[in-house]
């Protein structure tokens, strides 16, 4: 009897000790946050952005030597799949890179998960550095739709989707850069005839949505883009039907491999870098990697035949509502918008929004900036097809996969895209 009483007391004492220990540890962790600057981004370590932003962190550290900087590398998929969840949890960083568009920044802005940056933007002059059209993707209204409302995020760079090509392979096969869609097909036919797959493509994740997007944008004008992105009208399936038919044709003619649904973006990049395919259709975010890895002469040309391509201002710096150091976050944004950092960003291969043109000396950078400016000057910034509503990216991706694996016809593809868009459109209006 005595033994069991002693045992019971021991058990209670142990439980109490464990609870106290846990409380003590969590308290200590919270106290330690006061001198920590938490920052997340998901541009890959080899990208131009990461180069510039790491330099920005160095500048920040020089100004705040006592502050401990906690950086976490994220991935685009993490933000796409669980961004809202992350921002709604208790464990938010002080500043993070976030996807632009209704489906991402718009959603979390309308849910009150971000800090309104309009005041800071005026105070620090960011709204002078960026033109009103460049700020369009920073503003979201209370429905989460872009274009108007407070400023919730600041972009550092512009981005666009283009066709990168292997100059050496083109020269070896006596081919010129195509300027029309028909010429593009002839170039691809020429490669197929030599037994080379012309386009490195991947349908296991996002690249196939970019291919679909370029084909779809070849059929529309800027007003259509604004209506589509702003959920102003019910779904117009005609451009998407064209895109679906073209994608099927590309696969049938051998422009892209039959097993493209099993490949992911890193595989596609590898096929281009190892010269298995002379072209790859992807965005500016790959320039940093291509500069480092391509052992051949390469360049880019905008998707032939398109006036509008997938392009926009880049991902946004956002400050979570519960950020513990909003002042440091604003300061960091300021550093990344400074002429010095923008020049570093430009020379590393990204398209800066606020750089002095004379400061960009790197030839690759000049090539990319020229591409972006060409699009901007002809009002060809087409944004991305997955932005209108949350979860639309998965709809586009899965439907494209079903189309390319033969499970869906182009008509079924359009119908699969129609319903979620119309649901969102009805809900927003």
């Amino acid at each position: 009897m005595i033994a069991s009483q002693v045992n019971r007391r021991r058990a209670l004492a142990l439980t109490a000790a464990v609870f106290a220990g846990a409380l003590g540890l969590s308290g200590a962790a919270r106290a330690a946050d006061d001198n920590v600057f938490k920052i997340w981004w998901y541009e890959t370590p080899e990208s131009s952005q990461a180069t510039a932003w790491n330099k920005a962190l160095d500048t920040f550290k020089a100004k705040h030597p006592d502050v401990k900087i906690e950086f976490e590398q994220k991935s685009w998929d993490q933000i796409e799949k669980a961004g809202a969840l992350m921002l709604n949890s208790g464990d938010v960083p002080d500043i993070l890179e976030y996807n632009k568009g209704n489906a991402f920044a718009g959603l979390v802005a309308s849910q009150g998960l971000l800090t309104d940056l309009t005041g800071e933007a005026t105070k620090r002059g960011w709204d002078k550095l960026l033109s009103p059209s460049e700020l369009a993707l920073s503003r979201y209204d209370d429905r989460g739709i872009f274009g108007s409302g407070p400023i919730w995020g600041i972009p550092n760079y512009g981005e666009f989707v283009t066709v990168y090509y292997n100059k050496d392979m083109f020269a070896a096969n006596g081919l010129q850069v195509p300027t029309t869609y028909d010429e593009f097909k002839k170039v691809m036919d020429a490669f197929v005839a030599k037994g080379i797959t012309p386009i490195a493509e991947a349908a296991g994740d996002y690249p196939v949505v970019h291919l679909m997007g370029e084909l779809e944008l070849s059929q529309v004008n800027q007003q259509w883009v604004q209506d589509y992105q702003g959920l102003k009208k019910p779904f117009d399936g005609k451009p998407f039907l064209y895109a679906a038919q073209q994608m099927k044709e590309w696969m049938d003619k051998g422009y892209i491999t039959k097993d493209v649904t099993g490949l992911k973006a890193p595989d596609m990049a590898q096929l281009f870098e190892s010269q298995k395919s002379p072209m790859v259709i992807t965005g500016t975010w790959y320039v940093g990697e291509f500069v480092k890895k391509n052992q051949f002469k390469w360049g880019q040309f905008l998707f032939p035949g398109n006036t509008i391509s997938q392009a926009s201002t880049g991902n946004l710096w956002v400050v979570p509502k519960d950020s513990k150091h909003k002042d440091w976050a604003a300061e960091f944004i300021d550093i990344t918008m400074s002429k010095d950092n923008q020049a570093i960003l430009g020379n590393a291969g990204a398209v800066p929004v606020a750089a002095d043109p004379a400061a960009i000396t790197d030839p690759v950078a000049q090539m990319m900036i020229q591409g972006f400016n060409t699009l901007k000057d002809r009002d060809g910034l087409g944004f991305y097809p997955d932005w209108p509503t949350a979860g639309y990216y998965e709809v586009l991706l899965h439907s494209s996969q079903s189309l390319l694996s033969g499970q869906m016809t182009p008509d079924q593809f359009v119908e699969a895209l129609r319903k979620p868009y119309d649901d969102a459109q009805a809900g927003a209006n």
Partner: protein
């Protein structure tokens, strides 16, 4: 039989034992009961997870029954049951008998221990790591196809993850690889209580290996078979990690399972009410199957007695 002093001591401190149930009870209430109630409540609302929920009755469930993707997901859940429960169970039984009966006696218990640990390794490997590795092995420019091309079996160098039918097969293959070790370990520990004299007697009477397997191994392992069957079926019905890492539910919806669909609606489209409805149905099916299993097992145990 307890002596009178022991019995009174047991009676006096029996109440004291309830204290030891408190941690488990707290865990159950906090992690199982409260979320279950919240989830069921959420399934009757339209909610995006942050703003105020709006009560809409059974609308989510009605939409669910008309949703083709949901029924596809249920089909794939049943395929998972085959791949994570039935096949590993059968393979595990045979392997356990081989390791215990044959390898142990021919090559010594150490050899069978090492093999058992090797089979169990997939259970220890983090699923995310295993998923990425298998993704690399199975993709069109990966090791498996390269191997097939090298040895001339070009017709086998297929699009293992990208083809809709093959993706499910590949996923099921990875699931079998994951689960065989678990079944094997449980069955081998069960076989340890089987009297070897039974096997010797049967061998003397002229029974071959397979007859011994069917008439001694399987009946003696009935309790283990039920445990493995029940736990792996439940795991199969709620499987998420291998699907998420390997195929992301694709291509298209070829490998979508209920858990993945619920995740998609909870976190990506922010239709929390709809995702909650999927989870509720999933729970119902799992509980029903679990109760069925237990019922059959109880009846079997009663018959045996």
């Amino acid at each position: 039989m307890a002596s009178s002093s022991e019995r009174s001591a047991g009676g006096a401190s029996a109440a004291g034992y309830y204290v030891y149930l408190i941690p488990g009870a707290i865990g159950f209430i906090a992690i199982v009961l409260v979320p279950f109630v919240m989830n069921t409540a959420a399934s009757f609302t339209r909610w995006n997870g942050i703003a105020r929920p709006r009560f809409i009755g059974f609308e989510n469930y009605i939409r669910l029954f008309n949703d083709g993707t949901f029924w596809e997901a249920i089909e794939h859940a049943l395929a998972s049951v085959i791949a994570m429960s039935i096949i590993p169970l059968l393979i595990g039984l045979v392997l356990a008998a081989v390791l215990f009966d044959y390898i142990s006696s021919r090559f010594g218990p150490r050899a069978s221990s090492i093999l058992r640990a090797a089979y169990y390794l997939p259970q220890i490997l983090p699923v995310a790591v295993a998923g990425i590795l298998w993704g690399w092995i199975l993709n069109p420019i990966g090791v498996l196809d390269a191997l097939f091309d090298m040895i001339g079996l070009h017709w086998l160098a297929l699009n293992w993850i990208g083809d809709p039918t093959l993706a499910l097969v590949s996923l099921m293959g990875v699931m079998v690889w994951l689960q065989v070790g678990y079944a094997l370990v449980v069955f081998m520990s069960g076989l340890a209580r089987v009297d070897p004299a039974l096997y010797e007697a049967a061998e003397i009477d002229g029974a071959g290996w397979f007859t011994r397997f069917l008439n001694i191994t399987v009946p003696m392992l009935k309790p283990e078979i039920f445990v493995v069957g029940l736990t792996t079926t439940i795991a199969a019905l709620k499987v998420f990690a291998p699907v998420f890492v390997l195929t992301g539910g694709g291509p298209g919806t070829a490998t979508t399972v209920p858990s993945y669909l619920a995740y998609y609606h909870f976190f990506t489209t922010n239709r929390v009410g709809y995702g909650a409805a999927i989870s509720s149905i999933q729970l119902l099916v799992t509980v029903a199957l679990g109760l069925l299993f237990l019922r059959v097992q109880t009846r079997q145990t009663e018959e045996a007695q």
